[in-house]
Symmetry: D2
Subunit: 298 residues, 4 copies
């Protein structure tokens, strides 16, 4: 059975999704593409499964409306495009945490580094477009909710457009008291580099760097750092679609990030932007109670 897919929005990521659904993923066919971005809640109301790139909505209120439409329908229809949950390294890390091998998590140290960003990238996007990936994947890894956020700004790099605060360090606390520090540095120059280390009561688990040949030449042992997110997370994007298509083909609800997760990410990134704009105040995250409809945190 081939799953028929309509694509709304054919920008950079949309085009890459179309390529992937057509050339890489089995069991799917793109049958319609439109670049008119009508309200997503309307789509959800139509009763079809929706894969929605992040952000689910640009405001928390819009996110709540998507959830209302979905609950009116009676079953989960929406999966949000947080692909890191499908990355093999993060999945191994979750397995290790679940196994208890490193004990109860206490702290997470993260870095999200990107070589450069264009002039159109503004300071709020550090949370909204970049850190949002860690926000989602950490909620999932820890099976916990983020309760406060503080954004502090180191000395800015000279290698940025001058309006941008870069790098930024984000400090999150979770409901269970786990502390997360996240460096976001979007003009780090040297490559695309994702680091994550979870420290538990008995040990720690660290995300691997991607496998790459080691070269010894001219006095140095070197391995290449990925250039961009496409090469770093290409396999995760494949797996994300493969599992989503399989869930639809099986008539099952999607198991990936839900509209609840998309809503939570929006609330948390809003709080991060508020902290940044307030000069680094600690902002309490004001998330609604989790509806039973979305199950327990996974």
């Amino acid at each position: 059975m081939t799953v028929q897919i309509g694509v709304i929005g054919a920008g950079m990521i949309g085009q890459d999704h179309i390529r992937r659904l057509t050339e890489v993923i089995t069991g799917a066919a793109v049958t319609a593409v439109t670049d008119i971005d009508r309200a997503r809640a309307t789509e959800v109301a139509s009763g079809k499964p929706v894969f929605c790139e992040k952000p689910l909505a640009t405001t928390a209120e819009d996110g709540l409306r998507v959830m209302e439409a979905e609950r009116a329908h009676g079953r989960r229809l929406v999966q949000v495009g947080f692909m890191r949950r499908f990355d093999a390294g993060y999945r191994q890390m979750k397995d290790v945490l679940t196994s208890g091998a490193v004990g109860t998590p206490l702290m997470v140290h993260c870095a999200h580094r990107n070589p450069t960003v264009p002039d159109s990238y503004v300071s709020a996007m550090t949370a909204q477009d970049t850190a949002v990936h860690e926000i989602d994947v950490l909620r999932w890894l820890l099976d916990d909710e983020i309760s406060s956020v503080q954004v502090i700004t180191p000395r800015a790099t000279g290698k940025r457009f001058s309006h941008l605060k870069d790098p930024q360090i984000m400090l999150f606390e979770t409901a269970n008291g786990v502390r997360i520090d996240l460096e976001v540095f979007v003009n780090c120059q040297y490559g695309y580099d994702i680091q994550c280390e979870t420290v538990g009561e008995d040990g720690l688990v660290r995300l691997p760097d991607p496998a790459a040949v080691g070269i010894r030449a001219a006095g140095l042992h070197g391995t290449a750092v990925p250039r961009d997110w496409k090469s770093r997370f290409g396999d995760a994007f494949d797996t994300e679609f493969r599992e989503w298509i399989a869930s639809i083909a099986a008539g099952a609800e999607p198991t990936g990030p839900s509209s609840w997760d998309g809503y939570a990410a929006t609330v948390i990134t809003d709080a991060a932007v508020q902290s940044l704009e307030s000069g680094g105040r600690i902002i309490t995250v004001d998330i609604k109670p989790r509806p039973a409809f979305y199950g327990a945190a996974s």
Copy 2:
């Protein structure tokens, strides 16, 4: 367009191929499966593209007959299932060698380790079933032909069925004078472990271990070693089929290992078995001249 595929032989690897073509790879459909293994040359004669698991043939003579049938047809029809050429690490290594970053290759150090083998695995299979993967991928990596082979036998492990010579060390020389040492150890107990390091005039390039989370606990920093070839080379199998299906869909000749490569592998493994059985003599590899039909070595 969906490529219709008939599968001949539904043993362990055949069943895994069917699963992969059905569930993982886009653009292909398995439309017939038979477990009767009729002569492959007959199949080739039918004029259809053939993906043939290694070995291409159990004797060099049979391999030559396949090539004759193929040339009679006038274009390449056969691709042999040496999946390592599709592994990301080996491909990076080939790119590095081609780039000249480590200079002209002089030596290659390899290891092929497998946790255990059953009683049915006999000493000749170390070359025929196991080392054959290195034999193919090294011919391709070095763009060179293997000219002699010597098999020496270290002290045998106690953890094997007693009829088996395990481990074995194979020493190859190429037409260009490159020396290759390959440890093959099929009862190494600890995991499935593939190592390859090419040393050139200016430096070396080393195959990476698969990416895996690092865990610190109980006084140790540890990463998991793969358990078996399925987990180690799963992505390579995917890529192998994806590119083969794409070449068929495009009406092009396959670009993977040819029947020539399958024939060469058979001749070289035959020589290795002969060296083993002779107590370690250096055996000259007697490969026919490469027909122009199969192009220059790639």
Copy 3:
């Protein structure tokens, strides 16, 4: 020439110093040992070179008095026992930072983990006894002064004596705007583990783990984590004394951490304790202006 050394204080570290000066370091002899800890300022006033284990003084005021006595004498007499400046890894990191290879420093991520501490270890000691090593080495690495500190407390590990806040995260800002995050976890169970990564405008430099054999067995590639600070920093302690003895033998001023550095460390650790006890307030560090006597920061 053999340098004659009197040792005041023969506790755990004092005894290890005596052993090292006697058995490991050439050109030195311990000629007197007393366990009566008279005022250090008095010793300095006597006009002899002094190697003083950290802390230089238990209060900032006492530290200032040591400096006054030293300046009255007219030349540097005191070296404080911050041994990390003599560790090969930190020295390499300083060389890299000085070379400009990673650009202007913007952030430093650190971790200081210790397997367990006894009941006598109280929460203030996390700054005073443990983090003080990072405080000194980071001032030296960055050639910069720490201007504020904030201590936040993650969920506490269950594997501690209940009076202790463990782990703690310390956030420092420097005069130049560099942001430092330091995890201090003194009951981490798994080993003694020191991590430090400095991120600059063009790249980063990371402290190596100590060299240790890699072992592959039972499905795992593992390397041992050091058990304690003695094995991790044994070579640094050797180098510290060797260079100090050499400076005395040469009649030169010591080049290691000065009484100024000891004073600064006390002021900063006091601020950290104040932040901890205040529930995580940001505390401005109130260091006096650096006297010209102690030169520019190194």
Copy 4:
């Protein structure tokens, strides 16, 4: 007590030894230096402890005469300068092998790479001056004797003086059937690089690379490779002398490599040179029975 030391031979390594004994090692003083290299057996006959740089003797016969003189004296006087036994990595490897963690050894894979050698370095020196270090350390690591050797010559690097066969691959077999392959490449250009991996029935243990900071910049994660043997084995030289001086000060026999080990190394390197000059024949090593005087192999 200070051990008085006379140095015979003040060439490159001799001068470095004098520096080390004077500036680094405690408890020793160099009290006489002569550059006249009289017969070493004479020195041994005088009844004083002798630290003899490798080679113990330039012929096996001279080595036997040293042993006769030593036995006539009635106790061990000679320690030969094979410093690798004092390297922390090799010592860890020996501990792992002794512990049984990787099972009975079956194979060892080694590489000894040096950036360049001068015109005066001739092909026989690959065994005599370079591989001799592996020959000694492997006998000690495995607690086993080398029984045959074969030297094969890959395609030569263009980056050498034309009279030199470089690289060379040496294949050793031990009395217990362990197989060792050793790449010796003395013009590898990129640095000084020592690799050693012992494969046992249950796993393997690998020598670590020296600890060095990791740098991420310009798309690469890099660590420096040592430039030369002085930086790679500096600590091993220190430890070698420290333990030797301590054994003398204690009036004990030296525990390092004995004149028996020096003799064995000479016989084995002679066999390697013979194999090289014969075009790669397998040469049986003709070592005399080990005298009880030198104890069991350690």
